[in-house]
Symmetry: C2
Subunit: 299 residues, 2 copies
């Protein structure tokens, strides 16, 4: 076991209170004493035990982060941004990846509740009642979702998708399709509604092609429906699905965009690494990012 506060106190010839103050309220300690305490502490390799501290202060210095799937390249950028800010504020992160299983989400929140000061629920799939329940046990911030009056960070899907529809309509497409993500995805519902209203504005048809898992394979699986729907352009719930769809289209001998236009949403790093690059609606990850359609060579 490593040094504790009493070890430092003894070695520095002060009380534990003084050592404690040296770390949490240094200006309450006389300069010379402070210096000595800190020096001794460093020598002992003393680091305050945050769990013990949290027990009494009620603050743990931890935050919890719930994600549906870290393997979706959209989420690492969010995680990294959170990590960076957390570090700056001397917070540490509990990560829970739910593997798109919405039933485990609330359980994760509850089991983490006591060990964190608050949680960030990123694209949570749980229903609004569960979100309320989660929020009743600890501070919650939502990402990619709105629910009640809870603080949340979302993007302007509405105008983004209006841009997409305008873009496609300008290219002459009159029959659009939407390959939706999971039913439980708030974003997917918002995107569907946004597409619907944008389509009405441009008097284009919008065919809803059903729900698929928000991954590469989900996109692949949507291909059959896409092909039999008679549309000329399709918007996928996210880039991964768009890529899966492109893959399957090519497998079946079609060319994108010659035979069908495909548009994704997110602008994951992969989107621009492909050749030709995936046309995608960029989701700004940082405050300063402008909303934009990334370079398009496939629509």
């Amino acid at each position: 076991m490593s040094a504790k506060i009493s070890d430092v106190a003894a070695a520095a010839g002060v009380s534990t209170s003084t050592v404690s103050r040296a770390f949490s309220a240094p200006d309450m300690v006389e300069a010379v004493t402070l210096a000595r305490v800190l020096r001794v502490a460093a020598e002992c390799g003393y680091v305050p035990n945050r769990a013990a501290r949290g027990l009494i202060t009620g603050r743990t210095g931890n935050i919890g982060l719930l994600l549906p799937d870290i393997a979706n390249p959209f989420f690492p950028s969010i995680l990294k941004a959170i990590e960076r800010r957390a570090m700056e504020a001397d917070y540490q992160i509990f990560l829970a990846d739910t593997d798109e299983k919405k039933d485990v989400e609330l359980g994760f929140v509850k089991s983490l509740a006591k060990q964190v000061d608050g949680m960030i629920l990123c694209s949570p799939r749980m229903d609004p009642v569960q979100i309320r329940e989660a929020a009743s046990s600890l501070p919650i911030v939502l990402v990619n979702r709105r629910s009640g009056l809870l603080p949340s960070i979302t993007v302007d899907n509405e105008s983004g998708l209006r841009m997409v529809v305008d873009h496609l309509a300008d290219l002459g497409h009159a029959h659009l399709g939407y390959v939706a993500g999971p039913r439980s995805s708030w974003s997917s519902q918002v995107r569907r509604r946004s597409l619907r209203s944008a389509s009405e504005l441009r008097e284009t048809e919008l065919v809803e092609l059903g729900h698929f898992e928000p991954m590469f394979d989900g996109g692949r699986r949507s291909c059959a429906k896409v092909l039999q729907s008679g549309i000329t352009a399709v918007i996928a719930y996210n880039d991964l699905m768009a890529m899966g769809l492109c893959y399957e289209l090519r497998e079946s001998g079609r060319e994108v965009p010659a035979d069908l236009s495909v548009v994704g949403i997110d602008d994951i790093p992969m989107a621009s690494m492909m050749h030709p690059a995936l046309t995608t609606l960029s989701i700004p990850r940082r405050r300063r990012d402008a909303r934009r359609s990334s370079s398009s060579s496939s629509s």
Copy 2:
């Protein structure tokens, strides 16, 4: 604040010890009492405070995971596997993404040390002395690295790369190149040595093309050196770099594999999503995975 052990004890008409035992040693409690305690606890929404428990048991129920870059698609699969097993064992995970900055690694370990029962260092970039220091403060398991006698999980780079060299030599390549990852990467060094001995075995030339960041852009940047080296096939430290290199080669008008063969290592999901698929040495992520070269259309 939520219910604590004394609330449950009072409501159930027992002592706190009994409540405690009901949760941590249920067979030491009489069946009826146990049932009543658990019922009352459920009604109160009582969940044991793991921090308080850890203070006395010395076990936190948490493990720490250190990664160089969660945005590299190789790592999410590892993270997810760890998460799954952790959940089964009722462990929670502290995640630290170091952003490939080796200097912050030891600090992360130390700041997490008191709050976890042990740490998993995945592809750590720190030097052996630092690893020793980390291991002296808490149990450590290494992934993708060996150091002293510490428990570690590594793959058989040696035979994998022999397969790669054999494959390329069989195709007629006599001048191979290696685009290395960071100097501080243990894997990159092992891979370089493995390539060297495999090349000698096959009497092919091996040109070392220098170190680059282990990402897409690192691969792109390596392109110039690759082109001026006169090699006909190149092995990159990982898939991301291989993909960056392929991207830049195409930008400069070359075709892969017609003008140059490119082989990656890892078999990240993206590798097979591309068209043509990236030739890559697959790193088995789970016990049962066989070692294999994935479907190759570009070498």
